[in-house]
Amino acid sequence: MTHPEATEITPKVDLPGWPDTKTGQKKDTLTGRRTAIGEWLAESSLFTISLISILALGLIMLFLLMEGAPTFSFVSIRDFVLGHFWYPTDEPPDFGILPLILGSVSVTLISSLIAVPSGVMTAIYLSEIAPPKVAEVLKPAIELLASLPSVVIGFFGMVAVAPLMQEVFDIPTGLNLFTASIMLAFMSIPTICTISEDALRSVPITYREASLALGATPFETISKVTVPAALSGITTAIILGMSRAIGETMVVLMIAGGAAMMPESIFDPIRPMPASIAAEMGEAPFRGDHYHALFATGITLFLFTILFNVLAMSASRRFRLKG
C-alpha cells in the first residue's frame, strides 16, 4: 500500500510524461500523493460498502428483537417455548410454539435422513466415479434442481406427490410430515451435494493416486481416503443443508398440513415455524400480541439457523485443523 507521504524517485530515462532527465525538470504529474489519496479513497469506500453486510445482519437481529421481545410481556419465555398449544386468536389466546418447534425439527430431521445419503452419494458419484463428460451434464442438472423456486416444489408436492402418497401408503391425507420431508429433501440435496462435491474435489489427487498405487480399489480409496479427507467439507454441507431445510417456507406451508400438533407419526400433519409465520402474518394486526408472537417465532427460527451456521463453521474449522 502506498504511503500518503510517498517520496518520488526521479527516473533516468526519457519518456513522454516522465520527468525530463536531461534538464532535471520534473514533468511527472503522477505525484505519489495524488495516487495515494485516490487509493485511500477507493479502499475506504469499499470498506464502507462491505460494512453493509454487518449492518444488514444487525438490523435483522435488531428488528426481530424489537418486534419479538414484547411477546414476553404477555407470555413467559418458558410458556412460549414449551407451551403445547398454539391458539393465537382465541380468547384467551395460547402462544405455545412447542408444536411448531417440534414440527420444524421433525421435518428437518426426516428430510435430512433422505437428503444426506442421497446428496453425499451423488456428490461422490459426480466427483469420483462419473466420467468427466457425464459429470459435466449432471452437475448443472443438480444446480438447476437448486434453482427451482420453492413455490413450484411446494405446488408440485401438493398436486402430484401428496395424492400419490395418499394412494401408495393408504393414509387419510397426503399433506403430512412425510410428504413435506421428501419435498424438503429435494430442496436441500443440491446444497449438500454441491458443497460435498467441492470438498471431495479439493482432496488432492495425490491422495487418490497414492492409495490406488498401493493396490486399493477405487471404492476403498473413496471410503478410506477421499471421504475421510473431505469430511470437514461434507459435515459443513450437511449442516448447511439442514439449515436450508429448517428455514424453508413455501414447501412446508403448502404440504405439511398445517396442524399445530405434536407429531406422533410420520404421517401426521404438522405446522413448522416458517409455515405458521407465513400463514398468519397477514392477519396479525400490526403490533398486536399475535404479531409480536410471530416475530418471536421468527427469532426462534433465526436462532436455529444461527446455531446451524456456527456449527457448520466450527465443523469446517475443526476438521481442517486435524487434517
Partner: protein
C-alpha cells in the same frame, strides 16, 4: 487434470463390494436428476396448454379465472431487477474489499461472519425483517421497493460469494504483473482483476437474479398482492408476482379446481423464467471465458 476411475476392471469380492456401492452412487445421482426432470416434465406437460400469447400479455379477468398473467410477469421482473440493483453494487464492492484489500483482521472476520449468517437466514425471516424495517420504519409500505429491498438483502450473500470466488480465481500472477508495471492497486483491480473476474461475477449475479425471482416468502408481506388491476406504475405500488400468484391460486383462490390450468401455466412461466436465467448465465460464462481465448 481431469481424474476418472471409470476405466477400472476388478475381480473378486472387493470387486463385488465396489460394484454394489457404485451402483448405489449412480442410483442416488440418477434419482436426483430424475426428480428435476419429473418436476419440469410435469409442469410442462400440464402447463403447456395454458400458454398462449393472450396468457402472457393480458390482465387476469373474471376473478382471475380467465385472462393472462402479464402483471405477475412484470412484477416479478421488476422485483428481481430491483433486488439486483440493490445487491450488485454492494455485493461486488464487498467481494472486492474482502478479496483484494483485507483478508484478515477482526473487522473482516466480523464481515465474513455476518455474510455467512446472512446466507443462512430463512427467507421468511427476511420477510419479517422487510415488513418491520422497510414497510414500517422506512414507511415504504407494501410496495415494489420494499419487496425489492428485501430480496436485495437476501441476494447479497449470494452475489458476494460468487464474486469472491470469481476474484479468487484470477491468477495472482495477473496482479503481480500489473503491480510490477507500476500500476496502482486500484488500477490493477479496475483494469485487470475485475475484467478477468467478470464472467464469474455476472454468472453469479444472474443466478442470484433467478433466485430472487423465484422467492415467495420474502415478498408475501412486503411487496406482493393477490390482485391489482394496474400494471406497476411507480415503485411505491404493490405488485403481483409469479411465485405468489401460484401460491394464492393454488391455496387461497376462489376456484382452485377450475383454475388448475392457470396454476400450471403460471408455474411453467416461472420455471421458464428462472431456468432461462440460469441457462443465460451459463451461456454468458462460456462466452466471456472464450472471448480472450484463441
Amino acid at each position: 487434470m481431469t481424474f476418472s476411475i471409470s476405466k477400472h476392471i476388478l475381480s473378486g469380492r472387493r470387486g463385488t463390494a465396489q460394484k454394489i456401492w457404485f451402483t448405489l452412487f449412480r442410483l442416488a445421482a440418477g434419482i436426483n436428476v430424475l426428480a428435476l426432470f419429473a418436476v419440469i416434465a410435469f409442469i410442462i406437460s400440464k402447463g403447456f396448454s395454458a400458454i398462449s400469447w393472450e396468457f402472457l400479455s393480458e390482465m387476469p379477468r373474471n376473478s382471475m379465472t380467465e385472462g393472462g398473467i402479464l402483471p405477475c410477469i412484470l412484477g416479478t421482473v421488476c422485483l428481481a431487477l430491483g433486488a439486483l440493483a440493490v445487491a450488485f453494487p454492494v455485493g461486488v464492492g464487498t467481494a472486492i474489499y474482502l478479496n483484494e484489500y483485507a483478508s484478515q483482521g477482526k473487522m473482516v472476520g466480523l464481515i465474513r461472519f455476518a455474510i455467512s449468517n446472512l446466507a443462512g437466514v430463512p427467507s421468511v425471516v427476511f420477510g419479517l425483517f422487510g415488513l418491520a424495517f422497510f414497510c414500517t420504519v422506512l414507511n415504504l409500505g407494501v410496495s415494489l421497493v420494499s419487496g425489492a429491498l428485501t430480496l436485495g438483502v437476501m441476494s447479497l450473500p449470494v452475489i458476494i460469494g460468487a464474486s469472491e470466488e470469481a476474484l479468487k480465481a484470477v491468477p495472482n500472477t495477473y496482479r503481480e504483473a500489473s503491480l510490477g508495471l507500476g500500476a496502482s492497486k486500484w488500477q490493477t483491480i479496475c483494469r485487470v482483476v475485475v475484467p478477468s473476474a467478470l464472467p464469474g461475477i455476472l454468472t453469479g449475479s444472474i443466478l442470484a437474479l433467478g433466485r430472487a425471482a423465484g422467492e415467495t416468502a420474502p415478498i408475501m408481506f412486503t411487496g406482493a398482492v393477490f390482485f391489482t388491476p394496474d400494471l406497476p406504475s411507480s415503485v411505491f405500488d404493490e405488485v403481483m408476482a409469479l411465485p405468489y400468484h401460484i401460491y394464492v391460486l393454488a391455496t387461497a383462490g376462489t376456484h382452485i379446481g377450475e383454475t388448475r390450468h392457470l396454476q400450471y401455466g403460471t408455474a411453467l412461466v416461472l420455471i421458464a423464467l428462472v431456468l432461462g436465467m440460469n441457462l443465460f448465465a451459463i451461456v454468458i460464462r462460456s462466452r466471456l471465458r472464450n472471448r480472450n481465448r484463441v
